[in-house]
């Protein structure tokens, strides 16, 4: 039984957590939900007493009968990994790259004196088997860089539960993973809780994940738990406005009516793009990797087309080819009937613009917004004399102020930057905007606003969108048609509703099954 009572935290005098109280009964899953900066991770770190320097806490953090906030560092070390285990968001960096996985799992046992050197590796082997990494494919001598993200997260779990702790804290354990891998990791966690009678504190930004997993849920905003309760009850009766807002944002359906005409403006015909495979032997070249394999589709004027697929499926490569950054090796990409490629005159390429994922990496930090938004004018003959007015118009049309053009980009939040990125994409009045994971890095409430903006702009300007995303919910909300991509191929395409409701290809089914969902009967009450 974990019992946090009136936990308050400040770091260098800034309030981070305020009066947080929650209980996690033995053998149950507790979901802690909130947007970035809400303090959910800090709650976990306070529980582990691994706060950043300058952190001051008050209140009690009871693990069974012990208040860990009063324990000294030595006692905490004995407790961590033994009574409480923890896994983190980024499995790619969470393991020591220079130690093999066997040693890293065995270390948990050795450090707590729970196994002799000789037995530690036997036990580590058993733990890795337990988390689904069998000995034949994953010997103890494997190094982290030889494993995928999902496999590394399994190693982290093995490390964290090696001593069968009472509580496992999982801080956004699947956020960095693909949806099918996410489902497998979540299943594993659920199974471990059940079989080991462990408690799990599951921290996530994703309401759908907790809906499918947790017994209890707490919703956190600005360091305060605004609402908590038994999961189904909480979802059915959301009493706090923030909970409702979060809920609505995560399943937000922008108000859109698409006005697609039959004229195809972008045609991809049997496109193939290959990469040189990394050399495995000194004098032996491996056959090239086909990142895009015989892909064909069309985008019609005013249409919103989704492209879904997991990481490594080839969607980024396809995007680069469509943007004319890389040539295709065979097949064709036609923009208004002209072949796209590094040879297409830039002026003709101006009809297609792009918005990227990372709101922080999308702008040169040394330029003012006016110059940033005006950069696409490079594509036409000369900078128009009224370029500042045009920049102002573009900024206003995405809900920013005209005065913002004299500021630098670091003065804006992630959501505002994404608006500026859209303004930049709009400045040349393109016909097509490619949205490459354009809302994936945003919190749900900001994401809902950007989706609304996109729907509004499409209606007003008759834009066509190519919406590339790994997030099925978003794609469903914003597109008319959808393409499902797997291993370089489009395996299924059709009307969005049709594909989502009646998927034909097994991979589409697998993707849809893997995506966590809030049970529909919990939601109905809300829509009523």
């Amino acid at each position: 039984m974990i019992d946090i009572r009136n936990l308050t935290l400040s770091i260098h005098g800034t309030d981070i957590l305020h009066d947080v109280s929650l209980q996690i009964p033995q053998g149950q899953i507790f979901g802690l939900v909130g947007e970035s900066g809400s303090g959910k991770s800090m709650t976990a770190l306070a529980l582990m007493q691994l706060l950043p320097q300058g952190g001051k806490t008050s209140g009690q953090v009871m693990v069974d009968e012990t208040d860990v906030s009063t324990l000294g560092e030595a006692d905490m070390c004995a407790l961590r990994g033994n009574e409480i285990g923890m896994i983190f968001q980024e499995p790619m960096t969470a393991l020591n790259p220079v130690k093999n996985i066997g040693d890293q799992v065995a270390e948990t046992l050795l450090i707590h004196g729970q196994a002799k050197k000789s037995e530690a590796h036997t036990k580590a082997r058993a733990m890795l088997d337990r988390v689904g990494l069998p000995a034949d494919r994953f010997p103890l001598t494997r190094y982290p860089h030889e494993l995928s993200g999902g496999q590394r997260q399994r190693v982290c779990i093995a490390m964290a539960i090696a001593l069968r702790p009472k509580l496992l804290i999982a801080d956004e354990p699947t956020t960095a993973l693909d949806v099918t891998t996410q489902a497998q990791i979540l299943d594993l966690l659920q199974e471990l809780v059940r079989e080991e009678n462990m408690s799990l504190l599951l921290i996530t930004h994703d309401l759908a994940v907790v809906a499918g997993m947790a017994d209890h849920v707490a919703v956190m905003q600005n360091g305060v738990i605004v609402e908590q309760g038994q999961t189904e009850h909480l979802f059915r009766h959301m009493t706090h406005p923030y909970t409702r807002q979060l809920f609505e944002a995560s399943s937000h359906q922008p108000d859109r009516d698409s006005d697609s005409k039959d004229a195809p403006i972008l045609e991809v015909i049997n496109a193939v793009r290959e990469y040189k495979a990394p050399r495995t032997k000194l004098f032996h070249t491996a056959p090239p990797i086909r990142a895009v394999n015989d892909v064909s589709f069309t985008l019609k004027s005013g249409e919103s087309l989704g492209l879904v697929g997991e990481s490594g499926c080839g969607k980024s490569t396809l995007t680069r080819a469509i943007l004319g950054l890389d040539p295709v090796q065979s097949g064709e990409i036609k923009l208004f009937g002209h072949a796209v490629g590094p040879d297409l005159p830039i002026k003709q390429r101006a009809a297609i613009q792009v918005v990227f994922q990372d709101p922080y990496g999308s702008f040169n930090p040394r330029w003012k917004v006016s110059r940033l938004v005006a950069e696409p004018f490079h594509m036409i003959d000369a900078l128009p004399t009224d370029w500042r007015e045009k920049v102002a118009d573009a900024l206003v049309s995405v809900g920013m102020h005209a005065d913002d053009m004299d500021k630098y980009i670091h003065e804006f939040s992630g959501g505002q930057r994404q608006r500026i990125a859209i303004a930049r994409a709009l400045i040349l009045r393109p016909e097509i905007i490619v949205l490459d994971e354009a809302v994936s890095a945003l919190d749900v409430s900001i994401r809902a606003q950007i989706l609304d903006l996109l729907a509004y702009l499409q209606k007003r300007m008759g834009l066509a969108y190519l919406f590339i995303s790994h997030d099925l919910t978003v794609v469903r909300a914003i597109t008319d048609r959808v393409l499902v991509m797997q291993a370089g191929k489009i395996v299924e395409q059709g009307e969005t509703e049709q594909v989502f409701d009646h998927p034909k290809h097994p991979y589409t089914k697998q993707l849809l099954d893997a995506a966590p969902q809030i049970p529909s009967d919990w939601q109905e009450k809300k829509h009523a």
Binding site: L325, I346, V354, S362, N364, P365, P376, H378, M379
Partner: protein
């Protein structure tokens, strides 16, 4: 932005030294070209503030004039490194993975196998010793340093979305390198420049000390040390003072470099 303590201290020392050395263009306490053997090896006095050397020249004046050599050599050597190294680094990054990149980086590795001293030895063996030897030897060694720093920093910038965006706007690699890459690595180059400047002063002193650099009668700190070695038992002051001048100048520059790094590198600033 608040200046870190070491930046203030370093800038103070550096400016102080440069001011005194610059003063020597207009005025020195004594003329260093005139030998005054009867007044050799004087202790410090009101006439010779820091004493006189084995040829009766005023040590303070010698230090002031000698500093010009150190600064000039180091400054030109850094400029050579920047002017050749930075464009090479940017080019290598813009064409990453290509033959040009490979050739640039491999030739850099090759130059790294020739320490400044070895280059100086080779040049001296062929052309005889001179100050320009020192400049070329140190300058050549600076090229791969700046090429590597620029390439490394530029490579990480090339992966950023704003560079990708600029490419979709049809901008060429050259233009992107100038507009987007260079302004964002300039901080790093300033910091590296300060470090190389101080290393240049040390290297010049070393080369002049062994006679591969500045030749008599031009005074330089390294040469003053070489001259002093004969008198190290009788007048250790002669060896002590130029050495201290080098140490203080280099210390000032290094402190400034460290301070600038803290001030300009957002990664470190955020880490606090």
């Amino acid at each position: 932005m608040k200046w870190p303590v070491q930046l203030k201290l370093g800038a103070f020392i550096t400016v102080f030294f440069i001011a005194i050395i610059a003063l020597s263009f207009f005025w020195t306490p004594h003329d260093v070209t005139i030998l005054n053997i009867p007044e050799k090896l004087q202790p410090s006095s009101s006439k010779y503030l820091l004493g006189s050397d084995h040829l009766g020249r005023d040590i303070l004046s010698m230090l002031m004039v000698g500093g010009r050599t150190s600064i000039a050599v180091a400054l030109i050597a850094v400029s050579i490194g920047v002017i050749i190294g930075v464009p090479l680094g940017l080019l290598a990054a813009a064409t990453r993975g290509s033959l040009i990149d490979e050739i640039t980086m491999r030739s850099n590795d090759l130059i790294f196998a020739f320490p400044s001293l070895v280059i100086a030895i080779l040049i001296t063996a062929v052309y005889g010793p001179s100050a320009s030897n020192a400049i070329i030897a140190i300058g050549i060694f600076n090229i791969p340093v700046f090429a590597r720093v620029s390439r490394g920093a530029a490579l990480s910038l090339w992966t950023l979305d704003y560079v990708l965006a600029a490419r979709t706007f049809g901008k060429k690699s050259m233009r992107i390198s100038i507009e987007h890459i260079l302004p964002n690595i300039i901080n790093l180059l300033i910091v590296q420049g300060t470090i190389q400047f101080s290393l240049g002063i040390l290297a010049e002193a070393g080369l002049s000390y062994i006679g591969l650099g500045v030749q008599p009668p031009t005074p330089s700190w390294g040469r003053m040390l070489a001259d002093a070695q004969t008198f190290i038992y009788s007048s250790p002051r002669l060896a002590f003072l130029p050495g201290m001048a080098i140490v203080m100048m280099v210390l000032g520059l290094n402190l400034m470099g460290d301070g600038l790094r803290d001030l300009l590198d957002p990664r470190i600033r955020r880490g606090r």
